[in-house]
Amino acid sequence: MVGKLPGTDKTWRDILREPAWRRTGKTPDYRFSLANERTFLAWIRTSLALLAGAVAVDQLAPNIAPTPVRLVLCVLLALVGAGLAALSYRRWGQMEAAMRNDQALPFSRVMLFMTIVVAVAAFAFAVLILVAR
């Protein structure tokens, strides 16, 4: 028997069931669905790259900064990576739902957010590398 999740009336079975929007509208052209799937996977790989970067800095560059600073930077980077994975599923669902209902594709600020995060992280690590020398 599948138990209810704490604080909700939903069970794991409800969450894993095909969502309601999947039963609305018409099935989009498979080329668009496959393109949406590849975009989802590209975001997932970006998320994995952030996770790999976070663990790699922690493992391979222990002297890049004092331990608390390094820990905070690496945990932040890993948090953004995990959050991006969740966001990419949400984005995939929104795109799929829009295509099924012949609506315009929704605007997303994820790209702007990720550009800023990657630029700030690159700048921060560049400064740390220069200071550590």
Binding site: I15, P19, L71
Partner: protein
């Protein structure tokens, strides 16, 4: 299909760093489970990373078979399970970083 396999390779890269973190960590004085040497908190992180790899590898296998058979879109369940595997790996990476420091 290649996109799914590339994603699996990216996940294995994260895995390798987490496993390295476990293998290079100081051996702890006590094991969480008696009779299983090496199963400290870092060992649990390494196990979680291995579990995420197995889940994503299974998803890749299922999706590859689907794509060999036809061109139907991925089911939401498949996409959700792969997302949960990566989010779980993210939580494991955070734990490995926090425990390794």
């Amino acid at each position: 299909m290649l996109a799914w396999r590339r994603t699996l390779i990216s996940l294995v890269v994260v895995d390798l760093f987490i496993w390295r973190s476990w293998l290079t960590s100081e051996p702890s004085t006590g094991n969480l489970v008696a009779g299983l040497p090496g199963l400290d908190y870092q060992g649990i992180c390494a196990l979680m990373a291995a579990a995420a790899t197995i889940v994503l590898a299974s998803v890749v296998w299922v999706r590859s078979r689907q794509l060999h058979a036809g061109n139907e879109a991925a089911s939401a369940r498949l996409v959700l399970v792969s997302t949960l595997a990566v989010v779980g790996l993210g939580a494991t990476a955070i734990a490995a970083i926090a425990l390794g420091g």
